[in-house]
């Protein structure tokens, strides 16, 4: 029996650059990514800057990095549970209200979409430079992350793909 999910068609690949760490924008990125993978496209998401918050192993706030500034930034940026709504965030209350509205209407929540992305074989990669600035290591990220890459690798691998910047 094979559990492998494969994209067998000649459809164009899709690469999403997830720069934003806003709850709603990350959600949009994962909806597009999972939708594309489920309809037989090979999908990669390249996370950089604020987007890296989605990949942190610690979902909450945590001092990470060596220097004072990196520690402070990482604490303030937080992890997956702290993603703010891009508008009407109301001090972080809105993402929770939005999640409960999504559940009420049977729309997949962000953790469910991330799990689906993994099951569908979507490649999650992290930006080397942004990790370096924030003094984060590969081990600070969730194990689903396939690699830490630079912009040249990301562009080479996306040569024949649609690229969407979120």
């Amino acid at each position: 029996m094979t559990n492998k999910v494969e994209a067998k068609t000649d459809k164009k690949d899709l690469t999403l650059v997830c720069f934003s760490g806003d709850f709603d924008k990350v959600l949009a990125a994962f909806v597009m990514a999972t939708g594309a993978a489920a309809t037989n496209r090979k999908v990669t998401i390249f996370f950089t800057f604020w987007g890296l918050n989605v990949l942190k192993k610690d979902y909450g706030r945590k001092m990470q990095g060596k220097g004072f500034l990196a520690k402070t930034f990482n604490f303030l940026m937080g992890g997956r549970n702290q993603l703010p709504l891009s508008r009407l965030n109301f001090g972080g209350v809105s993402p929770h209200l939005m999640s409960s509205m999504m559940k009420k209407h049977n729309v997949a929540t962000l953790p469910e979409l991330i799990e689906a992305a993994h099951a569908l074989g979507i490649r999650l990669v992290a930006c080397e430079m942004a990790l370096h600035i924030l003094e984060l290591e590969r081990d600070d990220l969730i194990e689903e992350v396939e690699g830490v890459v630079g912009v040249a690798t990301f562009l080479n691998e996306s040569e024949n793909a649609h690229i969407i910047f979120v």
Partner: protein, 72 residues
Amino acid sequence: MIFLDITNETCPMTFVKVKLQLAKMEAGQDLEVILNEGEPLNNVPASCEEQGYKVLSIESVGDGKHRIIIQK
């Protein structure tokens, strides 16, 4: 025959659930899917055929719902 009801799911989990269920099955096995008209009905059967699976039947079961049988 394996059964999957995606009438309560919304985009993109409609496609996602069908794709992941088919991935778990053996070649030759059948999957019965109940889905809503509109986006799921327009795209789920087409997406399965793209992957090389056979859509054996599509029938309306009323109330805007349809039953499709897919053979892996």
